[in-house]
Every structure is written in structure tokens, then in C-alpha cells.
């Protein structure tokens, strides 16, 4: 064995030693159960969470997860203060993070509220309220179509309309373009804050074991890094193709990244929309519809703003619009059929990270010739930023 080999072996040994010790300690904890001795006679900590509750002609189906440290047995099920027949699949005790499906043949009443309560072996109760009982949509062609229609109105069409500003971009002077780009940054910052806000609310509904808040931030950071890496790769490839410096080409990359960022954000939004639709949380109002359309049209503007000096063919423009808008439909599908707060947290986090990355991209490209400080002090930029936030805020108030 050479000296190099020997030192490598020593390094491995040193690296693995703590892991071996850790494994031994874990074995001791499991075998000797010091926790049980420390615990004494304290009653078990029982915590069940409802992951998803659906209604159909067979009654109520609830998927529950044991989010607590101790095993829980569902002994009885009450609906609206009445013990009711139920079956559990799989049957038996639920260990930490075990899930089971409870089928309760309860004659629920459309449009009314119901309360589901599980009673554990120890008499602890876990409640879920069905605020408005409507039959849970079943996956199928017709419903896919309805969700596609929703996505079209919410995501695709407003974004496409926003893209119509592209010709204007080419006719704007420097100051005008600065204003529009800053406006875009303002819009995106608003969306970023909005996504984090929605995400943190969804995180509260995530079972504690899954640490929703951490997941949100982690998803955001991961998305930021992924988009950043993807952008760098795209620019390298383009530089390689044209043989020239990054310059004009990087504007097209920024537009693509913005489209991706907005697309991810819209996916998270579609997820929540599909879920709420499936849960029957519906009311009606033309004003609200108008507000929503206005609100999302600005997303199209954000995509075309960096393309002022680019020559972009119509198919390419439509592709960018599709990247930004179509994920709303996919999100609505997923949310409508398989909603869980966990997915909402992940995708809202991903959306926030992607948008943050895009904000940085645009700001960097704008600040390339001037410093960031000088950039922010210039009137068109400052007014543009403010206008962006104000536009989003104002259209946001229209939708509540």
C-alpha cells in the first residue's frame, strides 16, 4: 500500500468513525428504550391530521395521517355528532406518519356544512369541518376540460394579451424602456411576496412532521439555484453558437427565464385554484373576473419587456406565452384531483424562488452599464418600480 493509499484509508476511517458511533447509539436507543423510562406514565401524544376529505354518492371518504410521535387507533367516527358506521383501510393502529383511508357511508346534504370527528382509543377527538358539501369532482374528460377552461381564463389568455405589448417595446426610447422594465420588476416583486404569503398560509395546514415553512423556503432556494444554473447554461450555449459575447442574446434568455418563473408561479396558483374549485368554494361576480384578468395581463408585459431590442418571431413569442400560461391548467388539474397543502407549499415555494431569480436577472442586466444605486435613483426606474407594485396592488384589491 502506498503512502497515498494509506492516507486515503485513514481519511475514510476518520470520516466513518462518528457514523459508526452514531449507529451504535441509535441501536442502544432502540434496544434499551431509555426514552420509555424517562417518559414515565405520561399519556400518549395523539395527533391525527386530515389530508384530504372527499364526498361522493357513497358518503364521505377521509384520508388521515398520524402526525404525532405515538401510535393512534381510530376507535369511532362521528359525523355531525352521531356515531357512524365506517371502514378503515388499512385497518389497525396508525404508527408515526402512517396514513389510512376512512370510508363513512354518511348521507351528506349538498350545500350544507358537516363536521367529521374521529375518536381515538383514548377518547381524544380530531375534527374536520366540511364547510360546503359538494360532490368531489372525479377525474375525467369533462372535468379536465373544465379545469382547462379555468386555466385558459386565469393564466393563458391574460398572459397572451400582455404579449401584445411587444411591438410597443420596440418603439420605446431608453427612458420608456427603463420604466417598463422597472415596472416588470415591481410586478414580480409583488408576485414574490404574494407567493411567499400564500405559501406560508398553506404551510400552516401541512402536518407538522413535514415542516411546511422549511419546505417553502427550501423549495424557493432550490428553484432559485436551478433557474440560475439553467440561465447560465443557456447563455453559454448561445455564446457558443453565435461565437460572440453574451449581449443581445442574453435578453432573450431573460425573457425565457421570466416566462419560466411566471409559469412556475402560475402552476402553484392553478393548484390552489383547482383545489378551491373542487372543494366547492365558489361564488360569482363579473367584477372579480375583470380584476383577475387585469391582474394577470401584466404577466405578459413582464415577458416582452426585455425583448425590446430583439427580433422575435411570432411562434417564439407564443411559445413564451405558453410557458408562462399553460402551467396554470396543469396546476388546476393537479389541485382539483389531488390537492394537498404539501404540494401547494412546494409549488408556491418554487414559484417564489423562480421569480426572485428573474428579478435578479433583470436588475443585473439593467445595472450592467450603470451601478445599481444610480439605476434606482433614475426617475423612470423608481417610478416604474412603484408603478409595478401599485398596479398589482390595485388590481389585487379588485379581486379581494
Amino acid at each position: 500500500m502506498s503512502i497515498a493509499d494509506r492516507s486515503a484509508a485513514v481519511r475514510w476511517g476518520i470520516a466513518l468513525l462518528p457514523l459508526v458511533a452514531l449507529a451504535a447509539l441509535l441501536l442502544v436507543i432502540i434496544r434499551l428504550d431509555p426514552a420509555g423510562k424517562l417518559r414515565g406514565d405520561v399519556p400518549p401524544v395523539e395527533r391525527l391530521v386530515f389530508e384530504r376529505v372527499t364526498l361522493d354518492e357513497g358518503g364521505i371518504t377521509a384520508r388521515v395521517l398520524n402526525d404525532g410521535p405515538d401510535a393512534v387507533t381510530v376507535a369511532q367516527v362521528m359525523v355531525d355528532d352521531a356515531y357512524w358506521t365506517f371502514t378503515q383501510e388499512p385497518a389497525g393502529e396508525l404508527a408515526h406518519l402512517d396514513a389510512a383511508t376512512l370510508r363513512i357511508p354518511y348521507p351528506w346534504v349538498e350545500g350544507e356544512a358537516h363536521a367529521v370527528r374521529l375518536v381515538s382509543r383514548n377518547g381524544i377527538t380530531f375534527d374536520h369541518s366540511i364547510d360546503v358539501a359538494v360532490e368531489t369532482p372525479k377525474p375525467g374528460g369533462r372535468l379536465l376540460g373544465i379545469f382547462a377552461l379555468i386555466g385558459l381564463y386565469v393564466g393563458v389568455l391574460p398572459v397572451a394579451i400582455g404579449l401584445l405589448w411587444y411591438p410597443l417595446m420596440k418603439r420605446l426610447g431608453r427612458r420608456g424602456l427603463d420604466f417598463v422594465l422597472a415596472l416588470t420588476v415591481g410586478l414580480l416583486v409583488f408576485l414574490f411576496v404574494d407567493a411567499l404569503h400564500e405559501g406560508s398560509e398553506a404551510a400552516e395546514a401541512v402536518p407538522g412532521s413535514f415542516q411546511g415553512a422549511v419546505l417553502l423556503v427550501f423549495a424557493a432556494i432550490a428553484a432559485y439555484l436551478a433557474i440560475d444554473g439553467f440561465g447560465a447554461w443557456l447563455r453559454r450555449r448561445r455564446a457558443g453558437e453565435s461565437g460572440g459575447a453574451a449581449g443581445a442574446g442574453s435578453r432573450a434568455v431573460v425573457a425565457l427565464l421570466i416566462a419560466i418563473g411566471i409559469g412556475l408561479h402560475n402552476f402553484g396558483e392553478g393548484l390552489a385554484i383547482g383545489a378551491a374549485f373542487a372543494l366547492g368554494e365558489l361564488a360569482f361576480g363579473t367584477l372579480l373576473m375583470l380584476g383577475f384578468t387585469l391582474h394577470n395581463t401584466t404577466e405578459g408585459l413582464a415577458i416582452v419587456a426585455p425583448l425590446a431590442n430583439e427580433r422575435v418571431a411570432l411562434p417564439r413569442l407564443l411559445l413564451l406565452g405558453a410557458i408562462a400560461g399553460l402551467p396554470t391548467i396543469a396546476g388546476a388539474w393537479l389541485g382539483g384531483f389531488l390537492y394537498s397543502p404539501l404540494w401547494a407549499v412546494v409549488f408556491l415555494g418554487v414559484g417564489a424562488g423562480a421569480i426572485a431569480q428573474v428579478v435578479v436577472q433583470i436588475t443585473q442586466s439593467m445595472a450592467r452599464e450603470r451601478g445599481l444605486g444610480e439605476l434606482l435613483r433614475s426617475a423612470p426606474v423608481a417610478w416604474g418600480l412603484l408603478a409595478g407594485v401599485v398596479v398589482m396592488y390595485a388590481t389585487g384589491t379588485l379581486v379581494g
Binding site: L55, Q76, T85, R121, E198
Partner: protein, 358 residues
């Protein structure tokens, strides 16, 4: 507690959806029209074509499964007086009767308080405080004028007492701070059994609510001299349990076990006089009630008069109130009985009589 996903969506988003709703609603309504609409009365009995159980058929109401661990079983408690359910040798440990003057009896009891987990609905266990390991406690029964001597031992983890309803001097009341029997301690209650009627006993240590709803109560019957007419006699204690300790009951019953008599109907004979001793100790709810299907019964409130005061099919009692009911089953078959508070009935206080030709 988990919230519905809907509550995680912000108001702003929901309002946004309001807009979308106007687009999708028509299509959604169309999608629903084809499916089976929910609601009572729209299903015929029997399983669906797809083999799923019909959610209207087959469910009478009631907890799932059967209670297996109770001793005595509620059906045994129903007809047990002065420990009559125990074998003679064992019974003598808890109950002895000795003749005294004028044909009267000295009745000596041994009652102990003990903490015990009891199964109050199938699979649901309650950390009860009990008299003699059972909820309700054993039914004590004497004749008016008998001497009653109860040796009370507290083997529980908290101070307890026995407070009897009936005539007795203050020192025997088991209600004052100085009356509390500490864990490990004992006390002898002694008094003459009067007046005749249907009474109860319960712990009067503080906090009172907790000591009662945890299970420390039982029935105390004082027969009139010469007794009542022969009958099939049943004891029904209307009780309830707050399993999650939120001052609201999760389980209601007669004699502790939710829906026990749905599975094990009370057997009675057609034409025979049936006498039911009904006592209400339900905590947290203002009143409880007893309703019998297809029948009427004579009511003897508190049992202190031999003349009936009322003939009805529904009787309301507040906590601590009790009444003796007498009736004869006219037809064979199953007769439902339950609290006429529907909520209590569906949370366990419901059962059947099964009347058979004699």
C-alpha cells in the same frame, strides 16, 4: 386539529375564484346533473350496483364494533341489586344483611373507590374513577326503615366521598371539606333508609363536576314497606362521558356503554309488569330524557308516592332527577328506546327492548 385545504387559501384567492366560478359553474353544474344526487330518500335500500354499501341502508346509527372488556356487562348491571350478580361467597365480602328489631334489616356494604380504565364505546377507553371498579357503581337496595351501614374505602388517587340522596344527619352527608376521604382512608356512613323511593349516591368531593362525570355515582333504591308489586325490574342510569375533557360529552348511554342495547336488546315478556328505575346523572347537559317507542308508561317521580302522577311515552329529567316507570308490553317484537334529544341518541343513548310471548 387539521383545517380543510379550503381554509388555507386566502380570501383574496377565494374571491378570485369567485370570478372563475361564473365561468365554470355552468359546466360544473352540467357535470353534476349526470351523477347521483345526494340527499335523503333518493336511494333505495340495498347495495349499489357497483357493490358499495348504500349510505342510507344498513346504518341504524351506532358505534362500530362491540365492547368486550366490561365487568359487569351492562346487561348484567341492568338486573343486579345489592351485588346479586356475584357468586355468594364473593358477594358476602361486599354485602351482608342481619335482622334487627321489627323485622327490619341491618344492611352492610363495602364500597371502595378505585381508578380504572373502562371501555365506554367499542374501542374507546375512559380513565374513570369508579365505585367497586364499575360505572355506574353497584345498585344498593334497602327497604324503608332498614339500617344502612356503608364502609367506604378510598383506594383511588384523589379524595372522594359518598353522598347519598335520602334522609340523614349532616355528618353523613359526604359533602363538606371535612367529609372528604383521603386516598388510603376510609369512612363509615350509617343511616336509616328513608324515604322509600328511587335515589342515587355520588361522590361530592370537589371539583364536583369532575368527580361525578369521571364515574362516581350509583343507584340507591329504597322499597316501601311490603315492597312494590312483583315485576321485571331494570335499572337504567342515564350517563355520559367527556372523553376529551372539553366540558362536552362525546358518549351518551344508559349504563355507560354507547349503543350497547342495540346489539344486546333488553329481553322482556309480553304482558308482564316491567318496572324501570331511571336515574339521570348526565353532566354538562341541562336535561336528559327517556322515550319508549310504541308504548306508554306510568311515571312515579322519585318513587316517593305509590300513585302514578303521569302516563306518557317521553320523560324529561334534569341531573339528579329520577323516576320509576311501569308498563306492560302489549306486542311481541323490538321496541326502540332512547333519549329524545336526537343528539344523545346518536351519540350512544339508544337501545332496544325485545318483547317475547310469555
Amino acid at each position: 386539529m387539521s383545517e380543510s385545504p379550503a381554509t388555507t387559501l386566502s380570501r383574496r384567492l377565494l374571491l378570485r375564484l369567485a370570478g372563475i366560478g361564473s365561468l365554470g359553474a355552468a359546466a360544473f353544474a352540467a357535470s353534476r346533473a349526470g351523477g347521483a344526487a345526494p340527499g335523503y330518500g333518493e336511494h333505495k335500500g340495498g347495495p349499489h350496483a357497483d357493490g358499495k354499501a348504500d349510505r342510507h341502508a344498513g346504518h341504524l346509527a351506532g358505534a362500530v364494533g362491540r365492547v368486550t372488556s366490561l365487568d359487569p356487562d351492562p346487561s348484567v348491571y341492568l338486573r343486579s341489586f345489592n351485588f346479586s350478580h356475584l357468586p355468594a361467597a364473593e358477594r358476602a365480602r361486599f354485602y351482608r344483611e342481619t335482622p334487627i328489631a321489627d323485622g327490619k334489616l341491618l344492611r352492610e356494604y363495602e364500597i371502595y373507590a378505585v381508578d380504572r380504565e373502562i371501555e365506554i364505546a367499542p374501542g374507546v377507553f375512559f380513565p374513570a374513577w369508579t365505585y367497586n371498579g364499575q360505572v355506574p357503581g353497584p345498585t344498593l337496595r334497602a327497604t324503608e326503615g332498614d339500617r344502612v351501614r356503608v364502609r367506604f374505602l378510598n383506594q383511588g388517587s384523589h379524595p372522594h366521598t359518598i353522598h347519598f340522596h335520602g334522609w340523614h344527619p349532616p355528618a353523613m352527608d359526604g359533602s363538606m371539606p371535612e367529609h372528604q376521604v383521603e386516598p388510603g382512608g376510609e369512612f363509615v356512613y350509617e343511616f336509616d333508609a328513608e324515604p322509600f323511593g328511587l335515589h342515587l349516591y355520588h361522590c361530592h368531593a370537589v371539583p364536583l363536576k369532575r368527580h361525578i362525570h369521571k364515574g362516581l355515582y350509583g343507584v340507591f333504591i329504597v322499597d316501601p314497606p311490603g315492597g312494590r308489586p312483583p315485576a321485571d325490574e331494570l335499572v337504567m342510569m342515564m350517563n355520559a362521558f367527556d372523553t376529551n375533557f372539553d366540558a362536552d360529552n362525546e358518549v351518551y348511554a344508559v349504563n355507560t356503554v354507547a349503543h350497547h342495547h342495540l346489539h344486546a336488546p333488553v329481553d322482556v315478556k309480553v304482558g308482564e309488569l316491567v318496572r324501570i328505575y331511571v336515574v339521570n346523572v348526565t353532566e354538562f347537559d341541562l336535561v336528559n330524557s327517556f322515550h319508549l317507542h310504541g308504548m306508554f308508561f306510568d311515571v312515579f317521580r322519585t318513587g316517593t308516592r305509590l300513585e302514578t302522577s303521569e302516563n306518557t311515552d317521553t320523560l324529561m329529567l334534569c341531573q339528579g332527577e329520577r323516576a320509576i316507570l311501569e308498563t306492560r308490553f302489549r306486542y311481541p317484537g323490538r321496541f326502540m328506546f332512547h333519549a329524545h334529544q336526537s343528539e344523545f341518541a346518536e351519540l350512544g343513548w339508544m337501545g332496544f327492548f325485545a318483547a317475547r310471548e310469555a
